[in-house]
């Protein structure tokens, strides 16, 4: 039987069936819905091929590769400082956070350690990029679900953080500020006081979002109980970051596996989890994380030690032979770099373990049986950046 889409045809059929007292078994043929490559819910160019049965998704398969830039190949012919500029572009909303695990892995192989002041500023900038990244998520997720206002608020308030990142590093989005052995520069004058002000604004923004978005009834009805990911499935797929914590797993690399070179143990903060594992839980955990990140920044700003920001490293950086894997808790989840070095100017092999790649690989599992509008909620709440999937 062919698919019946015309309502009048349908009613005719039903009438006919009733007339002849035949129990008609309506089976629909199914429909393939193509989402993307350009879609507001995809943060880049991701295409999703969803097979539908009526309003229900039978299977959803993401098609990646529209933004594949081949970083793992190109870093093999770039020196370590050059790689640093490249990998900024992986997760473009929290670029500074991309640099840190790579630099830490190189430092680990070299046995170099950044001076305390550099470690503090590194952690502060790391958390600032988290605030910038996730505050945009909060606004953008609202936008995807039809609440335009949240988006404008997010773009407005994210600017405060980007201004601080820009005044310290010179780049709003791609700072390229981290160096093996420390940082490119010290902080500019007045930066600490300004950052306090900016973080206060962001804390106010979080409160605003809590009322405007998370507390909104429509928002809740579109996210609660939608796209539930149980804890064991989340681990199985290697979900990390807020997606994992929203499934009730209390694990944060900042606290549990913090590599040397970041000073999260110097601040008083919490890891938030949520037992539900649905779209709402993921949003809620991210909201709390933004607050915690702002608090970490504010605490660390007050305790920055004096001293140099650069350790003594050679002018031409050759990383000794060896292998190292360093992962940090980036805004999107666990981001790690596996560096195999042969003692050259260039890395021999770099495996980039990006958070979004694993986070989005669960989509076929979680989208099965969801309704089409919920697909947007699920996609939005998994929160991926295309550059982070395709690399």
């Amino acid at each position: 039987m062919t698919a019946v889409s015309d309502p009048s045809q349908l009613s005719d059929l039903i009438a006919e069936a009733t007339d002849t007292r035949v129990n008609l078994d309506f089976e629909s043929e199914g429909m393939t819905l193509n989402m993307g490559p350009q879609h507001p819910a995809t943060h880049g160019t991701l295409r999703i091929v969803a097979k539908l049965d009526g309003e229900q998704v039978i299977s959803a398969e993401p098609i990646c590769g529209y933004m594949h830039r081949g970083y793992e190949k190109i870093v093999e012919v770039r020196t370590y400082p050059q790689v640093n500029a490249l990998i900024n572009r992986i997760d473009w909303l929290g670029s500074f956070a991309n640099e840190v695990p790579f630099i830490l892995a190189a430092e680990k192989l070299m046995g170099v350690e950044a001076p305390p002041r550099a470690q503090w500023i590194r952690t502060i900038l790391f958390e600032m990029s988290r605030v910038a990244n996730i505050s945009l998520f909060l606004g953008d997720f609202g936008l995807q679900l039809g609440g335009m206002t949240a988006g404008f608020y997010a773009f407005r308030d994210r600017e405060h953080v980007l201004n601080m990142i820009e005044s310290a590093t010179g780049g709003r989005f791609h700072p390229n500020f981290d160096r093996i052995g420390g940082l490119k520069d010290d902080l500019p004058k007045g930066w600490i006081a300004d950052s306090h002000v900016a973080m206060d604004k962001l804390l106010a923004f979080c409160d605003e979002m809590e009322d405007l978005l998370v507390g909104n009834e429509i928002f809740q009805s579109r996210t609660r109980g939608i796209g539930v990911i149980p804890a064991d499935i989340a681990l199985n797929y290697g979900l990390s970051g807020a997606n994992l914590r929203a499934s009730g797993i209390d694990w944060d690399l900042r606290r549990d596996g913090c590599p040397p070179g970041l000073v999260y143990d110097q601040a008083d903060w919490k890891v938030w989890t949520h037992p539900d594992g649905d779209c709402f839980a993921r949003t809620w955990v991210r909201l709390q994380e933004t607050r915690e990140a702002a608090k970490i920044v504010k605490q660390l700003l007050d305790t920055i030690p004096a001293g140099p920001v650069m350790a003594k490293v050679p002018r031409i950086i050759k990383v000794p032979e060896g292998e190292a894997y360093v992962a940090t808790e980036n805004p999107l989840g666990e981001m790690g770099y596996y560096i195999a070095s042969k003692g050259d100017l260039v890395p021999f092999r770099v495996k980039i373990r990006s958070a979004s790649f694993n986070n989005i690989s669960i989509l076929p599992w979680v989208a099965r049986g969801a309704y089409v509008p919920d697909l947007i909620s699920i996609l939005g709440s998994l929160y991926f950046i295309l550059g982070d999937i395709d690399r």
């Binding site: 093999e76 290697g238 040397p260 050679p314 790649f357």
Partner: protein, 241 residues
């Protein structure tokens, strides 16, 4: 504040060409890592002779090289030991690159009219190995905050090994990526199609003998771009190239 165990120990940062006697220095800092030793012992007990090699960097990481046929068993054993968080699967091509590995790479020597170099031997990394290609994967134990790197040798004439996608669902995509980038197939994988590249793409981009076009049309760009580190005079340390 924590520091790398290696901090302050390695002092031949830029002078890997000069032989330094660091044996005495290394002996002074022999650490043991009881927790990782225990993990390794348990894995060895479960997998038996399939564990071919291992390497522990104390306080940091553990590498275990297993037999190719026991690749899936290794995942199952580790999973039942609490390593339930799937990190990634990838591969390494240990062939020294004929293109662009260094500033005196073969093709730049040809351009400048110098004698071609003899190819360097294949040297595998931690936990040893015998083959050009090695598959590498990482699992993580959230309760103890420890990870394991698994490696497996994949011989050139049969680039295949059992899939992990039945044990860790997340391995599905990683194995697809590894297949299209290295040409290593995973037996039993449900959907081994290209992840990024067009379906009719020829070659395996992350193999070392796959030329990077941008690199071929331009000589080594690195050396002129190496910026001096702040506060370090040009003559200090480093080699004047």
């Amino acid at each position: 504040m924590r520091t790398w165990l290696s901090a302050g120990r390695v002092n031949q940062l830029s002078s890997t060409d000069t032989a330094t006697d660091s044996a005495a220095e290394n002996e002074a800092v022999v650490e043991t890592d009881a927790a990782r030793e225990a993990v390794l012992a348990e894995l060895t007990e479960r997998l038996g002779a399939a564990v071919l090699g291992s390497y522990i960097r104390p306080g940091d990481d553990l590498w275990v090289r297993v037999e190719r046929s026991a690749w899936r068993d290794a995942a199952e054993a580790a999973k039942s030991m609490g390593f339930t968080f799937f990190d990634y699967v990838s591969a390494i091509d240990w062939l020294p690159s004929p293109f662009g590995r260094d500033m005196d790479a073969q093709e730049d020597l040809v351009v400048s009219g110098a004698e071609p170099k003899a190819p360097a031997p294949i040297v595998q990394g931690y936990a040893g190995g015998d083959t050009r290609f090695q598959v590498i994967a990482r699992l993580y134990n959230i309760a103890t905050a420890k990870g394991i790197h698994f490696k497996a040798d994949v011989p050139d004439d049969d680039l295949s090994l059992p899939t992990w996608s039945g044990v860790f669902a997340g391995a599905n995509w990683h194995e697809r990526e590894t297949r299209e980038m290295f040409g290593i197939t995973f037996d039993g994988h449900p959907n081994l199609i290209n992840m990024y590249l067009p379906t009719d793409f020829q070659g395996f981009p992350l193999r070392k003998d796959f030329p990077l076009l941008a690199r071929r049309v331009r000589p080594w760009p690195g050396i002129v771009d190496v910026e001096p580190m702040p506060g370090v005079a040009d003559s200090e340390e480093g080699e004047a190239e």
